[in-house]
Amino acid sequence: MQLIELEDVRKDFVVRRPLGRLRRERVVVRAVDGITLSVEPGSIVGYIGPNGAGKSTTIKMLTGILVPSSGRIRVAGFEPTRQRIDLARRIGVMFGQRITLWFDLPLIESFELLRYIYRVPAERYERNLRAFRELLELDPFLRTPVRQLSLGQRVRGEVAAALLHDPEILFLDEPTIGLDVVAKQRVREFLVQANRERGLTVMLTTHDLADIERLSSRILIIDHGRLIYDGDVEALKERYGRERILIVDLVEPAAPLRVDGGRVIRVEGPRQWIAFERGTSAAALTAAVAAQAPLRDLAVEEPDIEDVVRRIYGATATARATTERSSTA
């Protein structure tokens, strides 16, 4: 059985835009436009897309926050908004930009309150708490009020809080946003471990391609409310993320350089952008550039998720051009 199922799910928002001084225009914006997908138990799925693509809206429909405009949703066998309370017992939710913990209480007291809200049996609560304290290293700030925690500490607290009741599925909306490299890594490791040892199914939205690379084998890309890619990460990189970019600052402005294995895609004064295949060595390329013109500085840019998405979108835009506009009055 699939743990998460969506069948042709849509979500429209009604927005009222001012039109002149008093009149208002009623505009229907389609945030999610016919998504069909399913997720197997025990998988980690990364859900990405540019801002406003409909990621959060999808997550909010899956967690029972938003009622879909049409289509069918099943999560752990429940219809999210109709069976909200049953569903809430079986899922954990963490929003990277929102605080779910009690702001003025020590972290441990938030855990205690959640234990009663979710009716977690004492012995299971103790067992989970002990495990999370160790894995997420919560002990140094367990008795500190949440308002005094650093972002990294708070996120670790939030992740633990989302899992105290042993959910089957964990939904994470931008879990690593704003975290430093070390904190990101700690959260990722914890999620991988929870997936392996508890069989936890994870669905996360992120802007950080590294989250997806470290965590998930499967990636879903959404743009303009439609699913435009559903497959594994390796295949995605093969297809769309093959090129890296070498940025060179020359001592003096020059004509676009001609180097083997790379092509100049942009020139701005003394600065040039050279795209090259993932397989090509950046060092060799740099040497080739230096042989032609004196170098002041350089940097290598990995393709970020926005680039990859833009490239995929570019490939599908032509196909979509004939279909109807997503927002209509």
Binding site: F13, N51, G52, A53, G54, K55, S56, T57, K60, T63, G64, I65, L66, V67, T81, R84, I85, D86, A88, R89, I91, V93, F95, R98, T100, W102, D104, L105, E109, L113, Y116, I117, Y118, R119
Partner: protein, 270 residues
């Protein structure tokens, strides 16, 4: 039943947590409670000033109006203690933090109610009780079992009526965010009107208070019954004892409105 006990225990637990947070700042807490107690007497002083100029108000003596005031004010301050922080809802809906309430396995309204607990609001309750004591000591009542029973029941029933009005009114924020001033007009306005005998008002306002926003049932009708006063408006006598029933009906209607409102929630952000 077990669910109700469990919910009550959780309510107590969450409220105690909030009180402990507030008691971290003891002096501020003490001053606020005292201030609330003192300021709420100004309300009542307005009534006394009125009676310094007229011996009666629509056929009601000062003690009788004090009884009306105390019943209404006690019900209102109980409502305020339990759900006063519903004022936070517009902000939660605007910022999208209402999301968090929807992903937890408890009733939405229950979670909202347990979000906060402002102990300083007991100051207002204490003032209402003081005025109720004054009214009962000075007013002439032929006490019967029925009258005493009604007196005991109407305070929680009145609080339920006020609570239902508040919740129903605040639901408007799920449709238009900036309308909570309109909601305030209904809630605070309704409680103000309930402090005076409704027969002094215009016919349309009376009907509004009796049938639309039923605050006339909080104090006016039950007070007629307790005082054994003939209704100056000549309305049917059964209205005088129907407060508990009206409270349950108001709560039922509000529950339906609330459900529809939550389904209309649009969250915020991407």
């Amino acid at each position: 039943m077990a669910d109700a006990v469990d919910a009550a225990a959780l309510y107590a637990r969450l409220s105690i947590a909030r009180i402990r947070e507030q008691l971290q700042y003891r002096t501020s807490f003490a001053l606020q409670t005292l201030g609330m107690f003192a300021i709420s007497f100004l309300d009542f002083a307005a009534i006394l000033v009125l009676f310094a100029n007229v011996p009666q108000l629509g056929g009601w003596s000062v003690s009788e109006v004090a009884l009306l005031y105390a019943l209404s004010s006690l019900a209102f301050s109980l409502t305020d203690l339990v759900i006063g922080h519903l004022d936070l809802l517009p902000q939660m809906v605007r910022a999208g933090t209402f999301d968090l309430i929807l992903v937890r396995p408890r009733g939405t309204l229950f979670q909202l109610v347990t979000q906060d607990f402002q102990l300083r609001r007991v100051g207002k309750i204490a003032q209402s009780i003081a005025i109720l004591a004054y009214a009962l000591a000075t007013v002439r009542v032929d006490w019967t079992l029925e009258r005493a029973a009604l007196l005991v029941v109407i305070v929680p029933a009145g609080a339920l009526i006020f609570g239902s009005i508040w919740v129903a009114a605040i639901c408007i924020v799920f449709w238009t965010i900036d309308a909570n001033e309109a909601a305030n007009a209904v809630t605070y306005g309704g409680s103000f009107f309930a402090q005076y005998p409704i027969n002094i008002y215009d016919r349309w306002l009376r009907r509004f208070l009796a049938y639309v926003v039923p605050t006339a049932f909080v104090a006016y009708f039950p007070a007629l019954f307790i005082l054994g006063k003939p209704d100056p408006l000549g309305l049917p006598a059964w209205l005088e004892v129907s407060t508990p029933l009206v409270a349950l009906m108001a709560a039922a209607v509000t529950a339906l409105i609330w459900r529809a409102a939550v389904r209309h929630y649009q969250s915020a952000g991407g």
